[in-house]
Amino acid sequence: MARAQLLETTDEAVAGIEDGSTVLVGGFGLAGMPFDLIDALIRQGATDLTIVSNNAGNGEVGLAALLRAGRVRKVICSFPRQADSYVFDELYLSGRLELEVVPQGNLAERMRAAGAGIGAFYSPTAVGTPLAEGKEVRDIDGRTYLLELPIKGDYALISAHRADRLGNLVYRKTARNFGPVMAAAATTTIVQASSVVPTGELDPEAVVTPSIYVDRVVAVAARHHTVQGAR
């Protein structure tokens, strides 16, 4: 799709997400978590989803709510276990959820590769560890690397600070985290932005995600949650 669609509601924004889709979900803990798009996805009803996100839900909101609703088959993430990840913990320990743990930098770079058209890359992370199991090993200039494959999403759900009507995005502080990477790595990128401004109002020098990566935008007032028990 050439131009991003500007939608009125989050329900319209998540329309059409199919059962069995791979959905990239932005956020690090709760910073940058697209809460309202996830709530809309729960209402929309898609199930058997593979979710790619840094964590596996905090408390009862966002990704945790999607897990609790029973819509997720598999989570690919770097850090599922946290002080307030009890929804995930219960599902995982009772065998109702598959888990693939990926080192955080490899997770980001595998999505970056998908968005950049890179077929695979060699990473030094995880060499000699249990997470190297089954991966091709190669020595290059005296250093050992593992072959890592891209992670592509059917959809990305991300949260931005401001969007313009074309779909250019800026983020706020560390809530940027996976947003720009996921925006490029998904076939259809859906964005909730705290405000949508007229085209031309964002400083072109400051645009972080160019509109070419964005398919749907919906304006939603920012809603903030902090992780409980973080230390």
Binding site: N58, S78, V102, T174
Partner: protein, 229 residues
């Protein structure tokens, strides 16, 4: 033995508290470094980092969720859900801070641009192997986060930990029994009982607190050596 007193062995003091140890590590981090402090105990080091005569930090802190120039933990009105450290604790930004996305943040790390990172550990081996992500227990939920990327990324990987577990077993060991985070990646281990250089042919004791080198050799079962300066 008497040769070591006062230079390597400090029998009148120690073992150190984790706050005292944080101060020792902070003193060893060169001014101007780009530094990542791991989740947990290493975050204490931030309180002791050197400051210039204006009171500004001379070290720039990196947090892997996408920021350079991280300031102290946020309090009261400063708390901003969009601004956290890698442990998801609300933090502040310092003048000159910069934000970037996750792939850039880890490229910075993996690409060898970070000078120092300080990590906690379950175990460190004499050869510099690090185990700090998984106990390996069958009922444990594996969670690696950025630990493996940090372990191979920074130019200098330091570990901050208690030398002995709660059951008294050493955490500086001939070979790790816990699942590895990185191979031969640790250069120095700071503990409540002493500081050790690892990753070479032998484990070098730089300093001890409240324990002699002889007793450490015995309790660790490692052929420790000392190098008099």
């Amino acid at each position: 033995m008497t040769m070591l007193a006062g230079t390597i062995e400090h029998l009148d003091r120690g073992p150190l508290s984790m706050d005292e140890l944080a101060e020792v590590i902070a003193r060893d981090i060169p001014e101007g470094s780009f530094v990542n402090l791991g989740i947990g105990q290493p975050t204490k080091i931030a309180d002791h980092l050197p400051r210039d005569h204006h009171g500004s930090a001379t070290v720039i802190l990196h947090t892997e969720n996408g920021m350079l120039g991280m300031g102290p933990a946020a309090a009261g009105d400063e708390v901003d859900a969009d601004l956290t450290n890698a442990g998801k604790v609300p933090v502040t930004e310092l003048p000159g801070a910069a934000y970037f996305h996750h792939a850039d943040s880890f490229a910075m790390m993996r690409g060898g641009h970070l000078d120092v990172c300080v990590l906690g550990a379950y175990q460190v081996a004499a050869n510099g192997d690090l185990a700090n992500w998984h106990t390996g227990r069958p009922d444990a939920i594996p969670a690696v986060g950025g630990a493996m990327d940090l372990a191979i990324g920074a130019k200098d990987v330091l570990v901050m930990m208690a030398l002995f577990g709660k059951d008294g077993s050493p955490k500086l060991v001939p070979a790790c029994t816990y699942p590895l985070t990185g191979v031969g990646c640790v250069s120095r281990v700071y503990t409540d009982h002493g500081v050790f250089e690892v990753g070479g042919d032998e484990v070098v004791v730089r300093t001890t607190w409240g324990i002699s080198v002889t007793e450490l050799r015995d309790r660790l079962g490692l052929p420790l050596v000392t190098r008099e300066g």
